[in-house]
């Protein structure tokens, strides 16, 4: 017999039961449907132990890595603390240590933290300032680098958080940082799978993180990046990306500008149009899409129709908050 911990309370788990059985027996409402591992309604997340592999069958790999599992298929052999998928882990506090302009409207912020914090490059967090104002931003750096987090914050015309960050957020200031969320990150063990990454504006932040993660893990297959902006001055990290492309023969960098004629340094067109025209068949590819919501939705559909498998498309639409 083992113990299941849910919301801080302990429940006895009998040997032949699933986690779903245990919790339902204790009158805890866990959404569920088929109870055969198909409908995925009973998705939960382990807060400690790695879930049994049977309980993760059929889930996206990124969800598996984050210890999500199907409660109806989960019969753990050890104690396990579990939560519903929307459960939030505790915030940590991080201090701004560096601030630097990357382009006319994008600023790099580096935050340092002390508490234990797990993330993958490309995931996002919610940043909260002193008065509670909160916005989501993607992580641009790899874990394991001196307990820091890097963000690229784009100034939006009426953005309350982004304007404040650009104008007034100074090194030394503390921000609250939520747990790292989302599935947009590199996956180990797939080094032979070609990758297409399309981003607009500060959508480059997660993509740069994913690319660095892939290259530092010796990814073998081609990695193609298309970064788009409406004007040349909106492109950034150009030198870094060019230098990566020089060092790694399998990395291909394509800056795209939609409102200017092509030059030696960039292609003309919207990043996703150029990218999808360059790659007629995406069967077997892994595709990452970050940035403008409309671009993300359209490209998701196009990538799928060009043969990319649904489980291989990772999208992160950057919605803006009005006011």
């Amino acid at each position: 017999m083992t113990t299941i911990i849910f919301n801080g309370k302990k429940y006895r788990h009998q040997t032949n039961e699933t986690v779903l059985d245990t919790l339902l027996k204790a009158d805890i409402q866990i959404p569920n449907g088929c109870r055969e591992g198909v409908c995925q309604s009973c998705l939960m997340r382990s807060l400690d132990a790695v879930p049994p592999s049977l309980s993760q069958k059929g889930l996206k790999e990124s969800l598996q890595l984050q210890k999500f599992f199907l409660a109806c298929r989960c019969n753990p052999e050890q104690d396990m603390a579990v939560a519903l998928p929307e459960h939030e882990l505790a915030n940590i506090t991080a201090i701004v240590s560096h601030k630097e302009a990357l382009s006319v409207d994008i600023m790099r912020f580096v935050l340092s933290f002390q508490e234990p914090f797990q993330f993958f490059a490309g995931q996002f967090v919610n940043l909260t300032r002193f008065d509670g104002l909160t916005r989501s931003y993607s992580i641009a750096n790899l874990p394991g680098q001196d307990n820091i987090l890097e963000f690229h914050i784009k100034r939006l015309p009426f953005g309350r958080f982004s304007s404040w960050a650009h104008n007034d957020l100074k090194p030394g200031t503390a921000l609250k940082v939520s747990e790292a969320k989302g599935s947009c990150h590199y996956l180990l063990g797939k080094s032979g799978q070609p990758m297409l990454l399309i981003g607009t504006g500060s959508g480059l932040a997660p993509l740069a993180g994913i690319i660095n993660d892939a290259l530092s893990n010796n990814h073998q297959a081609p990695i193609k990046l298309y970064h788009g902006s409406s004007e040349p001055k909106g492109l950034y990290l150009v030198d870094e990306m060019r230098s990566l492309a020089k060092t790694y023969h399998n990395f291909d960098y394509n800056p795209c500008v939609s409102l200017a004629k092509a030059t030696d340094s960039f292609k003309q067109g919207r990043a996703h149009d150029v990218a999808l025209a360059d790659t007629p068949n995406l069967s077997g590819w892994r595709v990452y899409l970050c940035g403008h919501p409309e671009m993300v939705q359209q490209s998701k559909m196009s990538a799928y129709l060009k043969g990319a498998s649904l489980n291989d498309i990772y999208a992160d639409a950057f919605y803006t908050t009005p006011g």
Binding site: C34, E36, V38, C39, K57, G58, Y304, L305, L310
Partner: protein
């Protein structure tokens, strides 16, 4: 007792493989794709997954009434016999492509066929 159609087809792994192939066929079919594109792609995929699970004889809780309600709006904008036939065609082609034996395809097609009147609101 004989093993269920769902298990003989390969269970949830079969649904996962089929949804990818099936939904792409549907979206590429100009006769019917307008019925499948007007909402969030993830929601559409969840619906296709539910449909295939049912057609494969898998665990589901659909009733004829659910089928009617869910498709009523589409019937209003012209969903008819031909469209239903097109979907049946793609279901068969998907399973053929996945090398499912003909007798199992016939069983799945019969289950899908049994929803025809409810889907078309007759």
């Amino acid at each position: 007792m004989a093993e269920s159609l769902f298990n003989r087809l390969g269970g949830e792994a079969a649904v996962n493989a089929a949804v990818d192939v099936f939904y792409r066929k549907v979206l590429n079919d100009h006769r019917i794709n307008r019925f499948f594109t007007n909402s969030d792609m993830d929601k559409q995929i969840a619906k296709q997954r539910a449909f295939l699970t049912m057609a494969f004889g898998g665990p589901n809780s659909y009733t004829g009434k659910d089928m009617r309600t869910a498709h009523a709006k589409l019937v209003d904008i012209g969903l008819n016999e031909d469209h239903f036939n097109a979907v049946m065609e793609h279901l068969g082609a998907t399973l053929t492509e996945l090398k499912v034996p003909a007798d199992l395809i016939a069983e799945a097609a019969a289950i899908a066929e049994s929803t025809r009147n409810d889907v078309l609101g007759r």
